[in-house]
């Protein structure tokens, strides 16, 4: 049967954001990623694919683009008679509201939690890009009799982007969590996905706030590692942590491995996004494309190598795009060259120009820039 066990909360309050121009006009959650998606598509799709039918989004700042993107939630099949998608904006009666910790928002929205039927709550953020089945997390959570389960990834190489580090014992019991700048050495990184009973969350919210603490992870979870059974669930699939420009660029380039492309976008289940109804990509007689990801609606008349093109990009004859990411409706006019660059939406590169960055510091063009 299909009765809901888990409700989802996507917490966008105070997300780490070092994405420079990419988040000048939007929140981290709606940063375009992977040729046709926005960051939030991954966590939303993972929830839906795991049978979660009720998702609340704690929006905070610059969320106009988010409202536009998610609409009624229909693209993720979250437009139901019962439950579905809830956008929960901050209550702005108080000017100081925006600087307060996220526990205030949980508290202010406690009616939303109390009214919902599911027994468990899964709290995630938008910048941890992966494809995961949360039902497996719940299975382990129940088997270990955990109070809180934290999804972690394992990597022996240093990760791109900023993430908290986690230390756990051989049973998976978490003994320490440190912020990304902490000195602890560990192969486990916190994916900022927390599963617990709704009852426990409500209790943590009220007791922490009563003590003057307002931060969910630091105050309600870190400081209670001794009192509660907090277990790590190790996700072994691909993970992209997208909260700095270098991690944005580096993780995008990793998608150019067919295995990563296949597993991130389709396994165990597909990632959904807003429907655009563009035609298939069209390649003309002079097109020269290799090792690239191309979205629908693109028109390729020039050369594209080692790059990611979002929907509706037009590469004119004689133009060259290499090692770059060109977002929606970008136009590269004839005989121009782009290398190691990130172009936000609607950027136009005029004729006979050359734009070059380096892979450790890609050139970044803001939305609607004409170069």
């Amino acid at each position: 049967m299909n009765k809901q066990k888990i409700m989802g909360v996507i917490n966008l309050i105070h997300e780490t954001d070092e994405l420079d121009k990419l988040t000048h006009g939007r929140c981290t959650a709606t940063v375009p990623f992977g040729s046709r998606y926005r960051l939030i598509d991954f966590t939303l799709s993972n929830m839906v694919n795991s049978g979660i039918g009720e998702v609340g989004i704690f929006v905070h700042q610059r969320y106009r683009s988010l409202m536009d993107h998610i609409g009624s939630g229909k693209s993720w099949d979250l437009q139901h008679r019962k439950s579905g998608l809830f956008v929960l904006p901050p209550i702005t009666d108080d000017v100081q509201e925006l600087s307060r910790g996220d526990l205030f928002h949980f508290y202010q929205n406690r009616d939303y939690f109390l009214r919902s039927a599911p027994e468990y709550v899964l709290i995630t953020r938008s910048h941890m890009v992966c494809n995961i089945d949360y039902r497996r997390v719940l299975e382990q959570h129940i088997a270990k009799q955990a109070d809180i389960s934290v999804v972690c990834s394992h990597s022996t190489e240093p990760v791109l982007g900023k993430a908290r580090k986690v230390r756990m014992d051989e049973n998976g019991l978490i003994t320490e969590i440190q912020d990304s700048y902490g000195r602890m050495v560990s192969d486990h990184y916190n994916m900022e996905m927390y599963l617990m009973k709704k009852e426990l969350l409500m209790d943590l919210v009220e007791t922490s706030l009563a003590k003057g603490q307002d931060h969910l992870v630091r105050h309600a979870i870190f400081s209670r590692l001794n009192e509660l059974n907090v277990y790590g669930y190790v996700h072994d699939g691909f993970l992209a942590i997208v909260n700095t420009i270098n991690s944005y660029y580096g993780n995008s380039m990793k998608l150019l491995e067919p295995e990563v492309w296949r597993s991130l976008f389709t396994e165990p289940a597909p990632i959904y996004t807003k429907v655009k109804d563009g035609p298939p990509a069209r390649y003309t007689n002079n097109a020269d494309v290799s090792r690239s990801i191309i979205a629908n609606g693109c028109l390729i008349e020039g050369k594209v190598h080692n790059s990611i093109l979002f929907r509706g990009v037009h590469v004119h004859p004689g133009a060259v795009v290499e090692d770059s990411i060109i977002m929606q409706n970008g136009i590269i006019l004839p005989n121009s060259t782009v290398k190691c660059s990130i172009f936000d939406k609607d950027v136009v590169l005029e004729e006979n120009r050359e734009v070059k960055g380096v892979s450790s510091g890609p050139y970044l063009a803001g939305k609607r820039k004409v170069i």
Binding site: P258, D277, G278, P280, A281, T284, S290, R291, S292, A295
Partner: protein, 388 residues
């Protein structure tokens, strides 16, 4: 009861069997056949309706309706899930006196008079789900109203060589139709009926009833109703359309219409942001083009993984093409898996087919288009050269 009156509603004939499309329509109604890398044929007429401001569309289904009904759903992808009107699927139904199939195009409308009457329209647009074109029916309605005609039929000039495949019209200098022949052996005109009619509903209703009571009638618009109106000297108006229009009723014309999209300046623009062709979204990631791949003069859709060479071809979503494989002048329908060292020339590969390593399908010099049925498994030994 409050009822919203509609000036014009559309009746979309989607029951075509599409016999001449052979194996492609074995389990599929013709309007549900794939076209253009991501669409089905019916997407074009449905999108035309929506862009022309029509929000009430009755879709008449009959032959192999399962896949078509599943595809259409409640019309959401075309914006046709509306409170008043929207899309309604109208299959033949049982009556007290026993059920009957739709005997012909006119009979199909006749059986659905109660549906049309619900909206009390002044005009009824009758269209077919078998054609590829972009047309603003509102402009045609204006023409119809200006001429105060009983019926307006859209016409297009076709190649004389092909003319005998169509219903042909003769017109005078006022665009009044003076003669009408259904698929004559020797054509005397090259002005073909596009199968797009706007009728004054009161007049049409009386003719449908009369036609139903005529035991000699074949209950067809082109053969019976239009000639009857002409005999009665009603004003039959022709609206001349000069855009792209293609009847994709045969394997050759389906293949050709797909190839038409590959010109550097195609005559049918699928990318017009003001006239998007809506379709059901397949939810696939963006296409992946591997290091050794080459793609020229082609349309490739989402979810494809391309490691081989493609020239002058249309690839639908979710197709994979292995290394050292070549595809030229072909149409590859959704989710086809093509192995390594495969040669495909001048072919249409049905959706879900599996083409094993080293298989050869069709030939660059073949006159005939090779067709691989839906879901077929082609092994290397089977050398299919121009066999349909």
């Amino acid at each position: 009861m409050f009822m919203v009156r509609k000036e014009m509603i559309a009746m979309l004939l989607a029951g075509g069997e599409g016999k001449r499309l052979g194996v492609l329509t074995k389990d599929l109604a013709k309007p549900a056949v794939y076209f253009g890398g991501k669409y089905r044929i019916i997407d074009f007429t449905l999108s035309n309706c929506v862009h022309s401001g029509l929000d009430t569309v009755g879709v008449l289904t009959q032959y192999q309706p399962l896949e078509l009904n599943r595809y259409l759903g409640i019309g959401s992808p075309w914006g046709l899930d509306r409170r008043d009107g929207g899309m309604t699927i109208l299959p033949p139904y049982m009556q007290k006196a026993g059920g009957v199939w739709y005997k012909g195009t006119a009979n199909a409308i006749y059986q659905n008079i109660p549906y049309i009457e619900r909206y009390e329209p002044e005009y009824v647009l009758v269209i077919s789900g078998d054609h590829i074109y972009k047309m603003d029916y509102e402009l045609m309605l204006q023409h119809h109203k200006e001429r105060n005609a009983a019926v307006t039929i859209a016409g297009i000039e076709v190649d004389w060589k092909e003319a005998s495949r169509f219903g042909l019209m003769h017109i005078d200098e006022h665009n009044h139709i003076t003669g009408f022949e259904e698929k004559p052996k020797i054509p005397t005109s090259n002005l073909a009926s596009m199968g797009v009619y706007i009728f004054d509903w009161k007049i049409l209703k009386s003719y449908l009833i009369a036609d139903e009571n005529n035991p000699m009638s074949t209950n067809d618009f082109g053969k019976d109703v239009i000639p009857a109106m002409m005999n009665d000297n009603l004003l039959l108006n022709c609206y001349i359309y000069d855009g792209y229009w293609k009847d994709v009723g045969t394997i050759d014309s389906l293949w050709e219409a797909n190839m038409d999209l590959l010109e550097d300046q195609p005559s049918l623009d699928l990318g017009d942001p003001q006239w998007r062709i809506y379709s059901v979204n397949p939810n696939q990631p963006a296409q992946f083009i591997a290091a050794n791949a080459s793609i020229t003069s082609s349309l490739v859709s989402e979810g494809c993984l391309i490691e081989g060479d493609i020239n002058r071809s249309v690839l639908f979503y979710g197709v994979s093409l292995g290394e050292h494989s070549t595809v030229t002048e072909s149409v590859i329908m959704p989710r086809v898996k093509i192995g390594k060292h495969v040669q495909i020339h001048r072919a249409i590969i049905g959706d879900g087919a599996i083409i094993e390593d080293h298989a050869v399908i069709g030939s660059p010099d073949s006159k005939e288009i090779t067709v691989i049925p839906v879901g077929e498994h082609v092994k290397a030994r089977e050398n299919l050269m121009g066999v349909e």
